[in-house]
């Protein structure tokens, strides 16, 4: 029984981690080594004498080439990464601010139809981007928002509002009401009590919510590739656009770029590990 348990653990962990390890190895290969038909997985300082050896010569050239512009793309990886950062940060700030305010209202004030509103908020998350993108596209054309950082950031703000509201509602509901009642007795107005007493108590929740909003904006692809196919292209849309590249796929650069792109997410995953379950179930399940 114990043996089976360790076997399952080892298998699961390898299945999850090996593709990522392979990504790291591929990123330090030359293109020839990346598409060699035989297995080569051991980095070495020099090119191996035997062409069929498991070794390959480690090189950092893929990382250097990230500043090149590939066929079928308009800018280098770095400029797309910058777009991802700008859009991710802007939309995270906005959706956390709006979502926290909304959750504060639903958590602390008696609002008519609270349950229906909250379910409406949640249901917006189920919309497939491709099914609502055409009206948004036509709207953005009129407003000149297509292919801009602002346009996509705005859309992600709305897209993440459901997540931010539900997560924050969960966190805020856990803060005892006695705190603000004491503040009200001390002569605070209701708004002051919420701002100065309840919000500071929700710091962890706000940080966790921000991380999940950022990750969700960072990874989004459907809206990114349909609305921003020519300007302010984020990394997922840029990478997927390399598919079917006439010069052949620049695999080492893709591995290098993908690694740089997902590394921050791995770090964030570690930081919010205690709240992962809550984050991916919209705060409906608490650990």
């Amino acid at each position: 029984m114990k043996f089976v348990r360790w076997l399952v653990l080892a298998a699961g962990l390898s299945f999850a981690a090996l593709p990522l390890l392979w990504m790291a190895l591929s990123s330090i290969k030359s293109r020839e080594d990346a598409i060699r038909p035989h297995l080569n997985f051991a980095p070495a300082l020099e090119a191996p004498a035997d062409p069929h050896s498991f070794e390959f010569e480690a090189t950092g050239s893929a990382y250097v080439q990230l500043s090149e512009v590939h066929a079928g793309a308009q800018a280098s990886f770095w400029s797309h990464l910058w777009s991802s950062v700008v859009i991710g940060v802007l939309s995270t700030l906005a959706s956390v601010a709006l979502g926290t305010a909304c959750a504060l209202g639903f958590s602390r004030l008696a609002i008519r139809g609270e349950k229906d509103w909250l379910f409406f908020v949640l249901s917006t998350r189920f919309m497939p981007p491709l099914a609502v993108v055409v009206p948004v596209l036509l709207m953005y054309r009129t407003l000149d928002l297509q292919g801009t950082h602002l346009g996509l950031a705005l859309l992600y703000t709305v897209f993440n509002l459901s997540l931010a509201t539900w997560l924050m509602k969960g966190f805020l509901d856990e803060i005892p009401r006695a705190y603000e009642e004491a503040a009200l007795v001390d002569g605070y107005t209701r708004a002051q009590a919420l701002w100065k007493v309840v919000l500071p108590e929700a710091r962890t929740g706000i940080a966790v919510t921000a991380v999940f909003c950022l990750i969700s904006a960072w990874n989004e692809y459907g809206f990114a590739m349909t609305l921003n196919s020519s300007g302010a292209v984020t990394v997922p849309a840029y990478f997927a656009g390399l598919q079917g590249n006439i010069e052949g796929m620049p695999w080492p650069q893709i591995a290098a770029g993908a690694l740089l792109f997902v590394a921050p997410i791995a770090v964030f995953t570690w930081l919010v590990r205690a709240h992962l379950l809550r984050g991916i179930t919209f705060g409906t399940v608490k650990q």
Binding site: G12, C102, L109, M127, P128, L130, V158, G222, A240, T281
Partner: protein, 293 residues
């Protein structure tokens, strides 16, 4: 405090978010319905009303029924496989051991990553000629199929990537369900000399089932939207892997047929809204009952 001031505070807090959600969700929905009765195109204006012609085309189109069947199969297989594997992993992870937090977090990383980027990168692993999977299979003396170009395999290869990404999600939810079962129940079962299988079937499974149901529904609504992985591996116009979302993309953005695409979108939305309703009802019922904490 005056009633008026409290009302202002309520509005100030919830109105901005709700207003944005209404503008960006209800408006596209209504506009979609309007567009679906026209022959609007992506470039050039001057569309006219065509009645239900688009809907007639949608329901007689073999592409649509194919994409619908493929999406349903995907939702079913992805949900089932991920649930089974995730639950097995959670069972193995239940007991405490040193480094458990590290193992768990490492195993969970895939679900946090970008499906589009990882889908593209999996193309390197699964490549038929120089992919590492086939290289390993070759070293073991096994067959080396063309994972992403063989017509009968492509779909399952994409499913494999999806299983890689989302099994961690099911594992995490299962683990939460398992750890919420009070140990006294197991102790009582031990006194009664219940067999391991009986304990599993009579205690473990029924107690985690509500939570697994929630996870499966959440995963199904997500898999129904399947777009990123297909786009990054085989593209939007591959007959063997086309899902509802990629078919929509093909119709609207490659063929430029906005009117027809909107009719597709409306049909898809009906399915999504139905599933979302099931989900919220389920959630409501769970909240009324005991939600494991």
């Amino acid at each position: 405090m005056s009633e008026r001031g409290s009302r202002g505070l309520k509005l100030g807090l919830v109105a901005p978010a709700l207003l944005l959600l209404v503008v960006f969700n209800v408006f596209p929905l209504v506009y979609n319905v309007v567009l679906s009765f026209t022959n609007a195109e992506l470039v050039g204006d001057g569309s006219r009303f065509v009645g239900t012609a688009n809907y007639a085309r949608v329901f007689s189109d073999p592409l649509y029924s194919g994409a619908l069947r493929r999406t349903a199969l995907f939702v079913f297989c992805a949900g089932g496989l991920e649930l089974a594997l995730g639950f097995a992993f959670a069972l193995a992870l239940k007991r405490e051991f040193r480094g458990k937090a590290l193992v768990l977090t490492l195993a969970l990383v895939p679900m946090m990553l970008s499906p589009a980027v990882m889908g593209l990168y999996w193309g390197l692993i699964l490549n038929g000629n120089y992919g590492v999977l086939n290289q390993v299979l070759g070293e073991l003396g096994l067959a080396q199929p063309q994972w992403l170009t063989d017509r009968s395999l492509k779909f399952w290869s994409i499913l494999l990537v999806d299983v890689w990404m989302w099994t961690p999600f099911m594992a995490l939810v299962s683990l939460a369900g398992l750890s919420s079962i009070p140990p006294q129940i197991y102790e009582a079962a031990e006194i009664d000399r219940a067999s391991a299988w009986t304990v599993f079937r009579r205690i473990t499974l029924p107690l985690v089932a509500p939570l697994l149901g929630l996870a499966a529904l959440l995963r199904a609504t997500d898999a129904l939207k399947q777009f990123d992985l297909v786009m990054a591996t085989t593209g939007p116009n591959d007959a063997a892997t086309q899902t509802l979302s990629t078919l929509l993309y093909q119709v609207v953005f490659r063929d430029g047929k906005v009117g027809l695409g909107s009719a597709y979108a409306c049909v898809v939305l009906v399915v999504v809204i139905a599933l979302a309703t099931v989900f919220t009802r389920y959630l409501d019922r769970l909240k009324g009952a005991q939600v494991p904490r």
